[in-house]
Symmetry: C2
Subunit: 210 residues, 2 copies
């Protein structure tokens, strides 16, 4: 199909498709003349993936590029694979996080709480994730939202349940498994956030009625 | 303090503070001359809140405005309060979601699955949340990520646990409770997402070793 066909098949405007092509997010089509190219189902799938990552998962195009690079060049062992998946996830999300100045108020306290939680649950202390969680705790604190140890443990227990479900979906060849972990996580984070609101509505109705 | 003091206290540049003031996100200081104003702890707290909502929760300034408007004008009854909280949350997040054209492939199927889940869990079928969850399911599907019914139920069960913990933190006067629900949810969504990755690392390590 021509680029207009790719636009029709994906619902993405031709100008946006040209931008994706220019940025290398979508591979070039097979040239049929000096100014035209032919696109197929591989292109349709890639455009839909880019669209889902930007619109639903909320990634920037730079983050999408990092994720696609990891997916396009999968490691061969399952162990490296899971490391690569997390590297891609963390890279995709690292941008946009504020960096507190060293020694900011509450810095040591938030970090201490994160390391305590990690030790308690037997999680690994990936420095990027520890830093990020510390920043998020400080941001909540700065906004006047108290996150108690009890509440943090409740979130962690829920996260363990989600992770167990996540890992149960991973099977098959490394390249497929990588795709499943990275895309599955990025595209189901928003589901989890929406489900939380739905569940809150019931919990709050019960509280109001009770 | 003068605006330079507000900048020093919050770590937010003067130019950004002026923008927040112009946009009404932070209330004006008490004028001390034609070109100067005095700011106090209320301003420091508000600037930190705006910063946390934009940087950690990832809201746009327009969404921050909607959230602050709801917090600044709280309803008087607890029942209205929880409705207002969800309205503010949904409004804050509604922007940026793609709208599928009516009749898009998979539209009815995703919606049917959402309504089935809502009925199964006794959640209420808030049209905004149902639409959003449907869109998110379609986005995952478009990106080639299969979300099985079993997996969706596992996420929903985890969401129920989080919501129970959320509601247990709500107490006090309606204005305080509204603040706690809205800010607590917006600022702990990122925590939940990070905790999920930490939990995945352990789960994947166990899978690799096991």
């Amino acid at each position: 199909m021509r680029i207009s066909g790719l636009a029709a098949a994906t619902g993405v405007p031709v100008a946006t498709l040209k931008y994706y092509l220019r940025e290398g997010l979508v591979p070039p089509g097979a040239a049929t003349s000096r100014t035209q190219a032919d696109y197929d189902d591989v292109h349709v799938a890639r455009v839909r993936l880019v669209r889902a990552l930007t619109e639903s998962a909320g990634l920037s195009l730079a983050a999408v590029r990092d994720v696609l690079a990891a997916l396009d060049d999968p490691p061969t062992s399952r162990h490296d694979l899971l490391g690569a998946a997390h590297h891609a996830l963390v890279a995709a999300e690292g941008e946009g996080m504020s960096r507190e100045e060293p020694g900011a108020v509450g810095d040591d306290e938030a970090r201490r709480r994160v390391l305590e939680l990690v030790a308690e649950r037997g999680w690994c202390d990936d420095p990027l994730l520890v830093d990020r969680l510390g920043e998020q705790l400080r941001a909540a604190d700065a906004a006047g939202v108290a996150v108690s140890d009890e509440y943090l443990r409740a979130l962690a227990a829920a996260a363990d349940r989600v992770a167990a479900a996540d890992l149960s979906t991973v099977r098959g060849e490394p390249a497929d498994a990588l795709r499943q972990v990275v895309l599955g996580t990025l595209l189901t984070d928003p589901l989890l956030v929406t489900l939380r609101r739905m569940a809150q509505e019931r919990a709050s109705r019960e509280a109001a009625e009770g």
